[in-house]
Every structure is written in C-alpha cells, then in structure tokens.
Subunit: 290 residues, 4 copies
C-alpha cells in the first residue's frame, strides 16, 4: 500500500519510520521541512504539499490539534478533493466534536475515516509498542490493521463511530492527569507529616499502585524533576479541556476533572506549562505553602 503521512512531530516521525521499515512506499509532509528531510534520508518521499502527500491508498495524520487539522484538511479544500478510495487514519488527540465533524464530512464524500489515537510516548512509538485505540468503519480498520501492526503492540477497537476512539483517548488522558494530581496531593500530605516522597512512592508501587503512571510520574515528583517534559502540562491541560468539553456535550459532571483542570491552570499561570505534567506535584506543594 502507498502511504501518505501528515505531521512529523516526535510521535509522527517515529510512527512514520516504522511504517517505512515495513516496506511501504511513504510520502511525508510536515509544516517545517526538517523532519521530512530526515525521513527522506531513510527512503521516504518528502512531499511539497499536504495534497501531494495524500496521493496514496492510506493517509495517516498526526497533526497538533483541531486547528492544525482544520487548516490542512478542510480550509485548504484538501479533504474535498481526496478520492473516495482513500482511507484516512487520524491519530491525533482531537476533540470528539471535531472528530465527528471530520467523520461526517469524509463519509459524505465516500471516504473511510478511521480515528486511531494512541497511548504511548515517543519512545513507545519508536519501539512500535503503541496501544492503538481505533474506531470507524470495520472494513477500513481491517484494511489498515497490517499497518497498525507495524507501529503498535495492540489495536483496541471501540466501535463504528470514529469519534468514539477520541472519547476513549480523552477519558484515559483525564484519568492520567487525575492520577498525577492525586499523586501530587498525596506526596504533599505525607511530606507534611515527615514522609519522604520516595518512601511513599516505594510503598505505592510496591503494593496497590504498580504500573507506569504511578512509577513514572511518581519518580518525577519525588525528584522534583519537571524538565525536560515528557508530556507537557500545557498539553495535559489541552486534553483535559477536550475531555471536559466531551463530558459537557453529554451532560456528565466530572468533579475530579474540574479540580485537575484548575490545578493545570495554576501551573500554566505560573509559567510551568512547558514543564512535565508531573509539575502538578509542584502546584500541590505551592498551594500548601511548601
């Protein structure tokens, strides 16, 4: 299959490289030219425009947000010119509402739209260990599953409505931020009673809270190591905003979500938006004057 790829940030570049390793002809495009040039060195074809990259059987998009995607696919008229044989696979974390709009517009043109946001950071992407959350027309997902197998460890399927995958992704990211906020609050509480953060963390991960979230973010909090960011607080806030919007659309109150959003705003207000999401530990400490 000929593949097009739009958006070569850390995640996109790593995913595209694995598709290339799979032996598929690949056309790549990125707003700034550097990343496309790098992939060209590995055998990809650097496209001059998004439209050129989309001359393919399957088009992957991993752009920054709703706005970037809207500009590249809709405002440009690109989606309206794609042939109905194309399968469009959008891996970005976008809003549920915009995913639904995109799916509807694609469907109106007979194009199969698959939402496939992922769990995993750039290192997991490089190692082809992503968890892929997929939703959209079954046949289309079946068709691209061999490609998903090149980039992820597992594909989780969440229904025929593309936006369902985005709803799940936002739900998981809400849970992630809530766990980090809780870790932050807990660390300050225990710390105020004389417990070293690492002591608490060893107990947590050695008993009822194993797993990468508590281990990873707990370590960053314990070591107050908030930069460089693996996952920026500002992006965590963006995702939480989208999760709250998705909840608002179906009238679901999320009290913990609201509390976490307020803490993330506190971080951004203190110029910590570029720091790692773990900086929620610092927000909790600041609130307690510690």
């Amino acid at each position: 299959m000929h593949i097009g790829f739009l958006g070569l940030g850390n995640m996109g570049s790593a995913i595209a490289a694995n598709l290339l390793k799979g032996g598929h002809p690949l056309r790549v495009w990125n707003r700034s030219p550097g990343p496309a040039a790098a992939l060209a060195g590995a055998g990809a074809q650097a496209a001059a425009t998004p439209a050129e990259a989309c001359e393919a059987d399957v088009v992957f998009a991993m752009l920054a947000d709703d706005q970037a995607l809207r500009e590249v696919l809709l405002d440009s008229g690109l989606l309206a010119r794609l042939p109905p044989t194309v399968i469009l696979v959008n891996m970005a974390t976008i809003s549920v509402a915009f995913a639904a709009e995109l799916a509807q517009r694609a469907q109106a043109r007979g194009i199969a739209y698959v939402a496939a946001p992922v769990l995993g950071r750039p290192d997991a992407a490089a190692a082809a260990k992503l968890n892929i959350l997929a939703a959209g027309p079954d046949a289309a997902i079946d068709a691209v599953q061999p490609l998903f197998a090149l980039i992820g460890q597992k594909t989780w399927r969440f229904g025929a409505q593309a936006q369902q995958a985005n709803a799940v992704k936002l739900t998981v990211n809400f849970m992630l931020a809530a766990a980090v906020e809780t870790l932050g609050e807990a660390t300050v509480l225990a710390g105020a009673h004389g417990i070293a953060p690492q002591q608490l963390l060893d107990l947590l991960t050695g008993s009822i809270f194993p797993g990468p979230v508590y281990q990873g973010y707990g370590t960053l909090i314990a070591q107050q190591r908030y930069a460089p960011a693996g996952f920026k607080a500002a992006l965590g806030l963006k995702d939480l905003r989208l999760a709250l919007a998705a909840a608002d659309a179906v009238a679901v109150p999320l009290p913990v979500g609201s509390a976490v959003r307020d803490s993330l705003l506190d971080a951004v207000a203190h110029n910590e938006g570029g720091m790692d999401l773990a900086v929620l530990g610092q927000v909790a400490a600041r609130r307690a004057g510690r």
Copy 2:
C-alpha cells in the same frame, strides 16, 4: 513471646489466627464474644476483659476507630496500668491526632507504642500477605518484626513517630478512593459516548493502569456489583475524613480529596454507605442522570 490481641473483626481474627499458627501463646478479647470463642477453639485463650488480654509481652490492637480505642485503652484506665515492658502495636486505621496522643501517653509511661496499620483486605490477612506500615521506636519495631513476618509479606518503616504510619495509611486510602472516584467518572464519560464499561476497563488494565485497584474496583463498577461490600463506602468516607483532618492539621489543601469526600457523602445520603466503595461509580452515574 506472649501476645495479647484486642479486636477480632474480619481483619483482627485473620491476623490473630496467623500469630497463633506461629506458635505464640495468645490471649484474645473482643467486645462480642463469638470471635474469641472461635480462636479459642484453635488454641488461643479467650480473655474476659481487655486488661486480661493485655497480660502479655506484646499487645496488638485492631479496634474499629478512635472512639473504640479511646474507650478500651484510655477511658478504662487500661493504658495507665500496663507495665512499661509491654510493646503496644496498634494496627487500626485511626486519626493522626489520636495516634500522636496515644504515642505520647504510652511514652509518658515508658511503654513502646508502635503504629502498624496495614494494606490488604481480609483475604490478604488470612494469607499472611499484608503490607504492614510501621512507625515508632526502632527497637520496638525490631522486636515485633518476627511477629509481623507471620502476618504480612513486607514491613514498610516510616519513622520514629508512630503517627507517621497513620499518615501514610490515610494517604494511601485517600489515593485509593480518588482512583475509584476517577474510575467512576471515567466510566460514565466513556459510557455516555457509547463505550461499554468493560471495554474501557480492558484497555486501562491492559495498558497504563494495571494493578489491583483499577482491576478490582473497575470490575465491580463495570458489573455494577456494589454488594456485598469488600470495603464499605462508609468506611471509605471515614478514612477520607481522617485524611482531610490530617491535611487540615498541616494546612494542606486536597482539592481531589474534597471532591471525593463530597461523592462519598452523596453515597451515604442515598443509603449506599453499606455498599462497596465501588459505588462511587453509581454516584457518578446518578450525577449525570444515567
């Protein structure tokens, strides 16, 4: 060593049974006589009064709450009559403030007071797989460690101030309730977008949220199986109250803790206090009219 044991609820009985299996002479007391009789059948001596049970080298206490402990140990004058050679090991989840008071009163009499709350439910207690959070005088903990080895898989030590172990225990229980509340909110959010609870749960536990909390409570929420209770919502509320009090005492705001407390009050207000903590999933659904 001669051991005394006060308080034979589900947890206390299981722990006492393991101490007995270790070959130590054991005197047990409980407010209602049934549990003591059961252990007597296994070789323990049923004491007629708390004081009689305390004629021992080490006294374990696993009473319900601050109030029960205050009545049995302080109001009765029992603590004031214990010989200074006794080591008092309190395993109950009590307030940090009362733990500090008890430690101070014990110390004033030359009695070694060890706080040793545990992580683990009755089945873990029966299997001698508890995680024991210990704080107090080092020598005293060293002395009772052979007994801890009979009942737990690991002893975590948190300092010389007994109440520090209680602070850690309350911190962990706050985190537990926060995780369950978050799971509840997440399940309703995803559900409102057409995702079955079990689908979400499989993803969570199969990716970034492994471990007994998400697996166990997630299953209960997915199956709406809130009774019989493994850990009652009303007890979760009790512990959260104590966590918030411990935070208040050191001026640490816990926004997520506050949100969880409000949800637990909602549960109790709807006669769900006797249900499992997982009923927070039902509270989240009710709030969303689902």
Copy 3:
C-alpha cells in the same frame, strides 16, 4: 439617528420598543417574523433581511449567542459590507474571544464596535431600567449614550477594548450562579437540621444578604418554584462555560466556578435545563438524597 436592530427575543423586543418610543426611526429584523411584525405595529419598519435592517446610523444586535452572531454578521458577509460610518452595538452575552474577533474585524473596516451587554431581565428592559456595561471606542459610546439613556438606568463604562464589557458581564453572571448555588447548598444544610427554607431566607435577606439575587432566587428555592423560568439553567450553564473559557484564556483557576458548572451540568442531565437557575437548589437537595 436611524437605528437598526437585529434579534427580537424577549430582551431585544423590549429594548427596541423603548428606542422607538424615543422617536428614532427603527428598522428591525428577527429570524422568525412575528416579533418584527409586532414592532411594526408600533411604528418600526420590519426589514426583510439583516442587511436591510443595517441601513442605519447605529445597529444594535441582541442575538442568541456566538453562533447566531457569526452567521448573521460574518458568514453572510454583512459586516464586510457595512459602511465605516456605522456604529455597531452588540448587547448579547457572547464569549470574550468572539467579542475580540468582532471588534478587530470591525476596526479593520473602520467601523466602531461597542460591546454593551446588560444586567436586567425582560421586565427591567421593558421599564428601561437596564444596567448597561459598555466598552469600545470612547467617541462611539459617547455617540450612542443618548440611546442608552432611553433603555437603561445607568451606563457603566469598562474601557476601550470592547471585549472588556463582555468579560465583566460573564464575571457578574458567574457570581450570580455562584450565589444561587451557595443558596441551594445552604438551604439543604439548614433544612437537614430542621430549619425551614423561608426561615433561613428571612434571616439572610433581613441581615447581611439583602438585594435582588438572594431575595429573588431564595424565594424560588424556598418555594421550589422552578418553572416557568425567568433565567433558564441552560443559559446559566452557557454563561458559566463562557466565563470559564474567559478565565482559561488568561490562566485564572475558578474553583467555585468549576463547582457551579458541575451542578449546572447535573441539572441539565436531569432535564432541568429549561427550569429556572434556582433549580440549583433542587440539584443540591438531590445530591443530599433529600
């Protein structure tokens, strides 16, 4: 001055009628024709299109929300065709971001854009007793002040950036919803201790909480009179969403705002969005199982 008026809901119709009474030639337009016909009976000219209504010296707009305004003014190309001599006075409660966008687009065409959202309900509008919150170019506000004097009791000026008036309006509506939520929580708390709502309300309004908010919404809550709605909960939620968005844009956490938003979502989730904002009292009672 020739006046154009777009949007004749309850508020718009009452305001337009007062402008008409002031002796100014008035062209009115509304999506559905009924309200324009009614004003035509009083001497206004019913315009067939928004563009026709805008053939005037001053154009007032009182449309429902961002979306309606965007369609009528921007998507239609109307703003781009208005002559630079027009003063555009937007009285609707819209988002700060969209107000800024409108002001900028107007300015780019040399059109004076005045934001003039109001405090007051339809009866205050009919009585020409509105409080008008105005921001925009000083000269333009000076020019329309004689018209404001026909419809309001006072004009409050908030700066040269039009969107500042919107920021103030959203701030006040946030405070209004917060006061009603607080009243609701307080009524349930006191009620659970045997205090009748009216007893509490008499004390509040007779001591430290006089004024229309506590008196008016307090009475509705005390009498559980949630319909017909004076100000719908769904509109309160819309405004709170805009307030939180305005806060988000400048990184200001609003914990009370978040709590109120969650309660309003609870109302909407229970099909109470069409009831009066006072229904927050019912939400508080439901949460407490009362």
Copy 4:
C-alpha cells in the same frame, strides 16, 4: 435579673457592657483578668472563678470555641453544679454536635439551655445592633428576650432544639465565606481582562449585589487591605470546618463549601490566617500567578 457572663473578648465585652447599661447586676469572668477589670470599672463585679460568675439567674457564655467551653463548663464540673433555675445562654459559634451535647446535659439537670449565636462584628455589638439567632426552650427564650433587646436589633427564633441556632449560624458563615471567595475569584478574572477591582465593585454593589458583605469585603479586596483583620481567615476556616462537620453529620455534600475550605487552608498555609477573611482575594490571585 442577676446576670453572669463568661468570656470577655471583643464581642463578649461589648455585649456585657450593654447588659450592664440595662441596669442588671452583672458578674463577669474572663480567663485573663484585664477585660473583667475594665467592666468592673463600669459597675460589674469581677468574679474570681467561672463558678462565682455563675451565681446568677441567667448566665451568658461567649467563649472562644468548643474546647474552651468544654473546659469551663464540663471538665470543671461547673454545669453539674448549677442550680436548675439558671438559664444558660451560649452565644459562641460552636459545633452543632457539641451544642446538642450541652443542651442534653443541661436538660438532664433541669437547666434551660439557649443557643444564641449572633451576626455582627464588635462595632455592631457595641451599638446593640446584633442579630441574635436563638433556639432552645420557648419559655427560656421568652424570659431572656428583654436582655436580648438590650444587645441586639432583632431576635430570630429557630426552634426548640438549641443546636438549630448553631446550624443556622454556621450556614450563614459558610455563605459569607463563599461570597468572599466568589468575590475574590471574580476580581481576579475581571482583573486579568483589564478591569480595575474598584470598577467591578462599583457595578456589583450598584446593581445586583448590594449589602454589607459585597460592599465591605469587596472594598478590602479592591484595596488589598487584609490587615488588621475584622474577621480572621483562621476563624473563617474554623467556622467552615464546623459547617462541613454539620453537613457531614446529615450527609449533605457542599461542593462550594469544600472549595472555600481549600482556599482558606491555602491562606493559612501561607501565614495569612491572621489576616482578614478578605485575604481569599489574595489566595485567588496567587493561584492565578497574579
């Protein structure tokens, strides 16, 4: 009537002085002797002990908190020695639970116990303009009403259970703190959009939020005048703690109450507990990095 008075802080001294002006023989006691000496200069009799002050027909108590009252009345055995002819009028803001306990103990001895917490600050007390919230046996309130008339502008009666008056007082103080927190959040939100605090305040108090709370605390916030304190943030926190405990006892969630409590803890954590409650404005600003 012979009157006894326990507790001569700012409030107690002002109230006692007005009782004295009413021509009643007055015995006063305070932990530190200064205030009693001052009143003695005006004709009161300084009692050497609480018991001596209680040799009276009516005993007023205005002690600091539950703890002070428990020591003076219960731990000392004083209540148990009072003759059943005494009417005990407790004006302090204490917990609902302790008020109920006191009422029950008094009743067991045949003593009439009246709860009479007040609304109003020391200047209102000096001017005999307090609002008195009274609950307890009707006959006893009737009997002391002539005394209440000497110290307050109005007596509000809330039932035969003394603790009901305390529930109302705590409810009102919760509403007060919620209004101040809301003012603080609103001021920061508007301020971040370029609105001066005084501008916002003028609008609020000149339109829908008249009254002493918004005017008084709004001015303090606008001027960032947090010391000296009229009503200390630490006392506001104490009262909110009691309000939340009263709510917990009847399973009433108070989300806004929880949010305000967290902000007050933030204040105390930053050594602002001794500042005026208005410092919640500073907390809101700090959270927003302003």
